[in-house]
């Protein structure tokens, strides 16, 4: 065999390229079956998948499944690998001879942007119109001949999950003109904003010519959007939705919370009655049942909060809210891209901080990372709920609103306003208050899927219970030990807990918090809250249970209402709006910024803000007679 014939017989190098979730991997599996090799790209943990396939003519092809990408302007390691393979920048990877650009036929608007961008590289391309069956069912008709003509490449309909869904694609592989493969690696430059806008315009023009979609559905979407995304009315609707959410958290959770409270109280009494006095009884009743019961009672409120968030997400409202708030983000120098990370931070700051990877501007990303802990995470909810229930009367305002819900709404709003203020200061002193336009795909409006909603809620319940049964339980046990040992001397005056390690720690740090009106018991509760904020509530329950007995532990809200002044409660609420004490969040900031400077900066400024906010709240409340 000569070298020339060997070269001709060598398998062609084909690469599958496409947006994430376009069904690319399903198509790859369909094409290559079990003939796959999985490894990592050199130096990174991005997975490299290659397989072999033979066309109907018997010609052999090596198919590479490139990581999903929205653009060659890489925002993630996955996208960087895709770009580098296409540009021949990876030394261990040969440039592909053919690109199969896989697109989701139901969402061509998003997918065609990448196709147009990659087309400029001059590599032979073939467009796979994947999920074409789904598009057909939704009434989306794509004129493949016209699309092929406009794009200048063959277009083939595929169904990645059907047995013969890639047959036409396979047959098309032999029809490609591989002579067009360039000798040299293609050139690529980061597109300017004008070029990106131009690509969007081009996509719109192509779609107008080739796609006929369910007009009724689109009109329906547009009519809702006209109201929901109205610059003024949209904001009123957003405020109303959020207000309803926080009202519901208090109004709907009463019954189940009472039931859980009664159940934990009953268990405490039963266990206490069955055991004789001793350390094991105290551990179980004062430590575990009082502490864990004090946190688990908030499960119904957390479920209601997440039911709203999941329903809003599933309906397609959240991206629209991002769009609405883009104007305000712009005023503080952030783009709407910061909205999704900040929104994720309402569940937990950690995924929010990780989600900042979508922000390409360094300063915007850093600012978003630093303000993410100011968003009220779900772990703060138990603290807020305990103090609001203890101090804010359950009365209606204007005959419609529940005062407790309004206060909760106010606390969430305080977090958002503070975050925006901090962002403004950071961006202003960083010299960047320029507004960057936001471009994002708005999903179709739809009714939330009940099954998805229930599955999402079940996941949240599991997560909460895992935390209760894991770190919260462990913390309560350790705190019980610190509150019970060493035992008080025989001739000691005052509660035994004053002589314990917890009492010593509390009294040691209390002078720092005395101007805020915090007692030593509150100071003790702040320490385990470093691992998880909601532990502070359980810690208070344990400290009061150890110092006062099981009966008091059953009604933490009552104890707090009796022993604290309103000024102290308000100061603690203000403290928790800013509270920096979440070690895992600081650890993630360190990891994402690759520096100790930023977690220390976050901890420092959050502590300073928390202290000042609590101080002023306490002093003003005392001056007004609430002390």
């Amino acid at each position: 065999m000569t070298a020339a014939t060997a070269a001709l017989d060598a398998p062609r190098r084909v690469a599958l390229l496409g947006n994430p979730n376009c069904g690319k991997t399903a198509l790859f599996n369909l094409l290559t079956g079990s003939r796959q090799k999985v490894a990592n790209y050199a130096g990174v943990t991005v997975e490299r998948k290659e397989g072999r396939v033979a066309s109907p003519s018997g010609r052999s092809y090596r198919v590479l499944d490139l990581p999903g990408a929205y653009s060659l302007n890489a925002d993630s390691a996955d996208e960087a690998v895709t770009r580098d393979v296409l540009l021949g920048r990876l030394s261990d990877e040969e440039r592909p001879e053919l690109l199969i650009c896989v697109t989701d036929a139901t969402n061509l608007r998003l997918n065609l942007r990448l196709v147009l961008e990659v087309r400029q590289l001059g590599i032979p391309m073939l467009l796979a119109l994947n999920m074409s069956d789904l598009a057909e069912r939704r009434g989306i008709r794509v004129d493949t001949h016209k699309l092929s003509e406009l794009l200048g490449m063959p277009v083939v309909s595929t169904v990645g999950i059907a047995r013969h869904g890639a047959d036409r694609l396979l047959a098309s592989l032999d029809e490609i003109d591989y002579a067009a493969v360039a000798e040299h690696a293609p050139e690529w430059k980061t597109p300017s904003l004008d070029q990106v806008t131009q690509t969007h315009r081009q996509v719109r023009e192509i779609l107008e010519q080739v796609v006929a979609s369910g007009e009724g559905e689109r009109r329906w979407d547009e009519s809702i959007d006209r109201v929901v995304m109205h610059p003024l009315l949209g904001l009123v609707i957003l405020a109303a939705v959020l207000l309803l959410m926080f009202q519901a958290v208090f109004s709907w959770a009463g019954l189940p919370m009472d039931a859980i409270d009664a159940a934990t109280g009953w268990v405490g009494v039963q266990v206490g009655g069955m055991m004789s006095e001793g350390p094991l009884r105290s551990l179980l009743v004062d430590g575990i049942i009082a502490g864990v019961g004090g946190v688990i009672i908030f499960l119904p409120q957390i479920v209601i909060l997440f039911a709203f968030i999941l329903a809003l997400e599933d309906s397609g409202y959240l991206p629209r809210a991002a769009f609405l708030l883009d104007r305000f983000m712009g005023k503080v120098g952030l783009s709407g891209r910061s909205f999704i990370p900040l929104l994720s931070s309402f569940a937990c700051a950690i995924p929010g901080i990780m989600a900042t990877r979508v922000i390409s501007n360094t300063r915007d990303r850093l600012t978003t990372i630093l303000i993410a802990p100011l968003m009220t995470c779900s772990a703060r909810l138990p603290v807020y709920a305990l103090l609001i229930a203890a101090f804010i009367p359950e009365q209606s305002v204007a005959g419609v609103f529940n005062l407790q819900g309004l206060v909760l709404f106010g606390l969430y709003l305080s977090g958002i306003v503070s975050a925006m203020a901090v962002a403004w200061v950071m961006q202003r002193f960083g010299g960047s208050l320029a507004h960057h336009p936001l471009m994002m795909e708005l999903p179709t409006w739809r009714l939330p899927n009940l099954r998805n909603l229930l599955l999402g809620l079940l996941e949240r319940v599991k997560i909460f219970l895992r935390r209760v049964g894991g770190i919260i339980l462990a913390m309560m046990i350790v705190l019980w030990a610190l509150s019970s040992y060493p035992a008080a001397p025989i001739d000691a005056i005052g509660p035994a807990i004053d002589h314990s390690y917890a009492g010593m720690i509390g009294h040691l740090i209390q002078p720092l918090f005395a101007p805020l009106g915090f007692s030593w018991e509150i100071c003790v509760a702040l320490v385990p809250g470093l691992a998880a904020r909601e532990v502070a509530v359980g810690a208070l329950a344990t400290v009061y249970a150890v110092s006062g007995g099981a009966d008091e532990a059953a009604a933490l809200g009552t104890i707090v209402a009796q022993q604290w002044s309103l000024a102290t409660a308000l100061a603690l609420l203000a403290w928790y709006v800013f509270a920096p004490q979440c070690l895992p969040t600081l650890a993630v900031i360190k990891r994402e910024t690759q520096s100790w400077r930023y977690p220390l900066l976050a901890a420092g400024y959050l502590f300073g803000l928390a202290w000042l906010a609590a101080f002023f709240t306490y002093q003003i409340a005392v001056a007004l007679g609430a002390g």
């Binding site: 943990t45 001793g278 994720s344 950690i350 990877r357 501007n361 462990a474 691992a531 070690l583 895992p584």
Partner: protein, 90 residues
């Protein structure tokens, strides 16, 4: 006395779990790797694969996060340093 011992043991386990929980996953993984090197010839080696798996599981606040399958503990090489993203245009 037995009761005191039992309570002491429970508190000890809880304290160890708290430390384990607070440790970042990569620190736990590094610790387990060091243990694996030192204890490979001892009977404790049979326990180490299980501990190594547990160390890689994100169990702090990450456990409550929808993005936990992309946790830095598992995909640390994919973290984009701030300096790199500075090359992107805006």
């Amino acid at each position: 006395m037995v009761e005191q011992l039992l309570v002491g043991l429970i508190v000890l386990i809880a304290a160890a779990y708290c430390v384990w929980f607070i440790c970042p996953a990569d620190l736990r993984v590094a610790l387990v790797r060091r243990l694996q090197r030192r204890c490979s010839d001892t009977p404790a080696a049979t326990l180490l694969p299980g501990i190594a798996r547990a160390a890689a599981v994100p169990n702090s606040a990450c456990a409550g996060c929808g993005a936990r399958t992309r946790c830095p503990a598992n995909r640390s090489a994919e973290v984009i340093p701030l300096q790199r993203s500075a090359h992107s245009t805006k």
